[in-house]
């Protein structure tokens, strides 16, 4: 069922410039060439009855309800499949048409249950509407004949039901799954009366290939496919547009509400990041927002071995403030700091870093982007001049060659992946560089031209050898480089990559990728038309993460693939607001807008705006904070919505650092792993409980809108503001829009941004200022932000994490569609039905050698620690490589990751850990200690016992 308010124009919009003029029911109408008569009519306010057509899908022409008469044409053509033509004269209503339509409806209704009053779609059912529209007054065929009324419901999916008795076989669901989602899970099986919708090989939805994106549910005109929450709660009475709080795609949704109760999330057709599509997380995995585990009362304790004591907000805030002040008095101004959250809004992040810089008086602020995309910020700033992706998502529809390296879009960024798959089905070529066979490599109607199966940790070697081919085979876009880039730096780079040591042949023994494949892929990228690079954490989370980002930018510049649609450097940002949290000044060396703290002009401007002296010294990064804590130099921290213990590498080290601090303040919606080491617990609020903005991977600023009161009483920004005031640094914003106004006043790339302006435009891609009043979909057109693009020499340096006889396998990590990061939210939803534990993927060859079988417990030992996971034996990974996700704390994935990190940003090297794997009979010591520690929060096992023992 469509959202309760949206209008469906029947067929997709056509963007052609040429317009044709026709007459519909005597009225002259204009429409772009290629538009259907149905859409042209709908845009002119004439509604033609329809059932099988939907704006989101290509027309199919099966229901015959939309027939019209066209002067000079025989019969009654379907208006959804007939395009407009110059001078055409269309009649949408006359007695003959009405007769046929009634006949069609009569047939449908004769095999449809008449339980409209108790049906979940009542009032929004298109079949019901059409019966009304065509004036159906009687049904001559009774239920005595054959019918489908007793067909059994499929309730297997936790979020929606399939009730075949209500199906009119319009195939909208099938087409939604094919065209929108690209999963091809559904078919219409059988013919004529026998035809029914089947998932995969006529399996229950849960056992089929379905990934529960919800596209079919939205497309279904009847109650056949319905959300379970809709069935349970009844239809919403109002809806509010907001932005998904899961991943960096930043899908726009309508939160459909009954008072303060959320009925369902429906993707917004006008959403510019998602165009009405969604994935299982944003669409359905919302149960965590009302989960009983939510922390609703502030609590404090003097020592982490003490039980929590619930206190009032005032007491918690004044205790936190007095502790922070006490620590500063005792250990110095630099002894405290904070961590902003990429889950929170821009406005919240902005005031947290402001509190730290202006209130704490130091620059010890960092963010969880440290562990994911900090190399992106660094690498793109150095080469192109701006720490952000260069395109919008729609740009992919103009790409000819798509190069995906170290990203797994179908799991990590599913809605964008669907768009990318659309383009690939249209014929764009695909190059994948990944140690693992990700789904994109081979999926329905898509096959990568090249899958470069490199060894983990060798991205830079691969990128250099691709560059080598481009340079040595004279494939460089010389004109572009000479005009747009710094020529001496280019020449230096050209000499470097041309060296024989960087050739694919020389690098083959390092990367493991056959030289011929690298050469062919490089030629395709350089000569195949518009080439776009998409990369993710498989690039950044390495000791050479920043070098690889520089290498990617080099490639884009050398091939002239930057500064227009269809090309570019596209970091697939992980969390909903990781771009925004970086934009808002979360890095210890940068003010909002990526301006260095040592820049006197900028600093003085902020000193005036914030009414406080500011430090010109870069502050500590998260791993530096841990180091400093262990040295008793960093003793208090304000952690906003970030689970450092679970998400940062080398858990033992993080835990030891937190244990040596005197005041750890955790603000979160759940008692996360870090909270176990905290002294002050401040309840957080979900995205449904506050106003603000998120910025997605394409720099798109979208509104987050409050649809219910904060469950714990305050939105996160209000809590930070209280803490600031208690610390003696006044903050008195009445509304997050005032914070955005301040951001606009102080940040040149945000000058034109305000809540009102976003409401007006729907969303805005920064930079938005006088030069770009409606925002900037494509960056670096004509000129790079830094002026001339800068090539950087990117020598491959092998990771310090080496395999040897003791640790012969390389462990690499990733994520899965149904779970999200450390899983705090998705683990508290039915998404667990898809993924209830992290597993170790191991190649059959390696498994065989170790007598490991599917499902066995496997002990994994690294130089840092050990854990136990169940095995999944699969050829997705190559021999010598094992892989796991990190969504469950008890997996202890980060117990084994080391503290090696990116040379430029200290982003941890999650993707490369040397390990040994052996079959064991039971969960490991880590899990046992962890459970003992976790299960009795009021009377914990001493944390030291859990985290210090190896």
């Amino acid at each position: 069922m469509l959202s309760i308010v949206e209008q469906d124009f029947g067929t997709p919009r056509r963007a052609t410039a040429k317009r044709v003029t026709l007459t519909i029911d005597g009225v002259e109408v204009q429409a772009p060439e290629g538009t259907s008569i149905m859409r042209a009519a709908a845009e002119a306010g004439v509604k033609i009855p329809k059932l099988c057509a939907s704006e989101q899908l290509e027309a199919f022409g099966s229901c015959r309800l939309c027939l019209v008469q066209i002067e000079g044409m025989k019969g009654l053509p379907a208006s959804c499949t007939t395009p407009v033509a110059q001078g055409m004269k269309v009649t949408t209503q006359n007695p003959q048409i009405a007769d046929v339509r009634r006949g069609v409806m009569e047939l449908y209704i004769s095999d449809h249950p008449l339980d409209c009053l108790t049906c979940p779609a009542n009032g929004h059912c298109e079949l019901q509407d059409m019966a009304g529209v065509v004036g159906l007054r009687e049904v001559r065929y009774g239920y005595e004949g054959e019918n489908h009324l007793d067909a059994v419901k499929d309730e297997s999916n936790p979020y929606f039901t399939f009730d075949p008795s209500k199906c009119i076989v319009c195939s909208r669901c099938v087409r939604a799954c094919d065209e929108r989602q690209g999963t091809f899970a559904l078919t219409i099986q059988g013919r004529g009366f026998e035809s029914t919708v089947a998932a995969s090989q006529d399996e229950p939805f849960m056992d089929s290939e379905c990934v529960s994106c919800g596209a079919c549910v939205q497309a279904c005109p009847t109650a056949t496919l319905s959300e379970k929450t809709l069935i349970e709660k009844g239809q919403a009475e109002h809806s509010t547009i907001t932005t998904c709080a899961y991943c960096g795609v930043g899908c726009s949704f309508r939160a459909e509400m009954k008072g303060e109760e959320l009925v369902r999330m429906v993707p917004d057709m006008n959403g510019m990041a998602n165009h009405g599509h969604s994935c299982v997380k944003g669409r359905f995995a919302i149960g965590y927002t009302t989960h009983p585990d939510r922390v609703l009362k502030p609590a404090i304790r003097a020592k982490i071995s003490d039980p929590w004591r619930e206190v009032s907000w005032d007491e918690a805030i004044s205790y936190a403030a007095s502790e922070l002040k006490r620590i500063q008095a005792k250990y110095g101004r630099e002894s405290i700091g904070g961590v902003t959250s990429s889950r929170c809004t821009n406005e919240e992040v902005y005031i947290v870093q402001k509190l730290i810089r202006a209130g704490f008086g130091n620059n010890n602020v960092d963010t969880c982007a440290r562990v994911c995309h900090s190399p992106t910020g660094y690498g793109l700033k150095v080469t192109l001049g701006e720490s952000a992706g260069t395109q919008n998502f729609d740009s992919v529809m103009k790409s000819d060659v798509i190069f995906v390296i170290g990203a797994n879009p179908t799991d990590g960024h599913p809605v964008f992946a669907s768009q990318m798959k659309q383009r690939l089905r249209q014929g764009a070529k695909l190059i994948v560089a990944d140690p693992r066979t990700i789904d994109l490599v081979r999926s329905p109607h898509i096959e990568a031209a090249y899958h470069l199966k490199l060894r983990p940790g060798t991205n830079v070697a691969l990128l250099n050898s691709i560059a080598h081919v481009i340079v040595s085979e004279a494939l460089v876009k010389e004109d572009f480089v000479r005009e747009r880039c710094e020529v001496p730096a280019f020449e230096k780079w050209r000499t470097f990559v041309a060296a024989p040591g960087n050739s694919p042949e020389a690098m083959e023994s390092v990367t493991g990728v056959p030289a011929a494949e690298v050469r062919a892929a490089a030629r395709l990228f350089a000569t195949g038309g518009n080439g776009a690079i998409y990369y993710g954490l498989g690039v950044t989370e390495h000791a050479q993460g920043s070098t690889a980002v520089l290498g990617i930018a080099n490639l884009a510049m050398a091939t002239g693939n930057i500064g227009r649609e269809g090309v570019g450097v596209n970091p697939m940002r992980g969390q909903n607001n990781v771009q925004g949290s970086c934009d808002m000044g979360s890095m210890p060396h940068e003010f909002p807008g990526y301006r260095h703290v040592s820049d006197t002009v900028v600093r003085e401007m902020f000193e005036t705006a914030w009414g406080a002296p500011l430090s010109k010294e870069p502050g500590l990064r998260i791993p530096n904070m841990f180091e400093a804590a262990l040295a008793q130099e960093f003793m208090g921290v304000y952690i906003n919505g970030e689970d450092l213990v679970q998400s940062d590498p080398n858990t033992q080290h993080v835990a030891a650092a937190l244990m040596s601090m005197e005041c750890v303040i955790v603000q979160d919606i759940f008692l996360n792993e870090t909270a176990k080491f905290a002294h002050v617990l401040l309840p957080g609020s979900t995205f449904l409980e506050k106003d603000g903005t998120f910025t997605n991977a394409e720099r798109r600023i979208s509104r987050v809108r409050k649809v219910m009161q904060p469950k714990a009483g305050f939105a996160d920004w209000e809590v930070t503001q209280k803490l600031a005031n208690a610390m003696g640094y006044p903050m008195n914003y009445r509304d997050p829009s005032e914070i955005m106004d301040e951001i606009a006043r102080t940040t040149p790339t945000f000058t034109g941004v305000s809540f009102d302006r976003i409401d007006e435009l729907g969303s805005i891609q920064w930079p938005c200022n006088e030069a770009a009043p409606t925002g900037t979909p494509t960056m670096h057109i004509g000129e790079f932000v830094r002026g001339k693009g800068k090539f950087m020499v990117t020598e491959f340096v092998a990771s310090a994490e080496k395999v040897n006889a003791r640790y012969p396998l390389i462990l690499t990590t990733g994520r899965i569609l149904s779970q999200y990061n450390v899983g705090a939210q998705t683990r508290r939803t039915e998404n667990n039905q898809w993924h209830s534990e992290d597993r170790l993927e191991i190649h059959p060859h390696d498994a065989d050698e170790r007598s490991i079988k599917e499902g066995d417990w496997v002990g994994i030992v690294s130089r840092a620690g050990e854990t136990v996971l169940r095995a999944r034996v699969t050829e997705r990974v190559q021999p010598g490589v094992v892989y796991t996700t990190f969504h469950f704390p008890e997996s202890g994935a980060n117990v084994i990751t080391t503290d090696n990190s990116d040379w430029a940003t200290n982003c941890p090297e999650y993707k490369v850990t040397a390990v040994q794997a052996t079959r064991v009979s039971q969960p490991g010591q880590w899990q046992k200690r962890f459970r003992a520690f976790s299960e009795v929060p009021e009377n914990p096992v001493p944390a030291a016992e859990v985290f210090n023992a190896k």
Binding site: K381, Q544, T547, H596, P618, N624, E627, V793
Partner: protein, 83 residues
């Protein structure tokens, strides 16, 4: 802060700039990167470590650390490029 880690971080930076054809560019790059991104206490620790004979600093980062110690030092955030 642990000296070992400081040394390791400086050496890692050195490995990146080690690819610069001119030694002087490499040293300047390292020194500039450290002054731009490292907190003062970390820089001080590095400078202190660099005074020990066997501190473990490789040649280029050692030269950069000495430059950071010089009275004129490297102006914080001298330039963006090269880090």
């Amino acid at each position: 802060m642990s000296g070992d880690n400081i040394i390791k971080m400086a050496n890692d930076i050195g490995h990146f700039y080690g690819a610069e054809p001119l030694r002087e560019d490499a040293i300047a790059g390292i020194a500039n990167h450290i002054s731009r991104y490292w907190a003062k206490r970390m820089r001080e620790k590095l400078v202190e470590q660099a005074q020990h004979q066997d501190c473990g600093l490789e040649e280029l980062p050692l030269a950069a650390a000495r430059r950071l110690a010089a009275p004129t030092g490297v102006p914080a955030a001298a330039k963006i490029d090269g880090g």
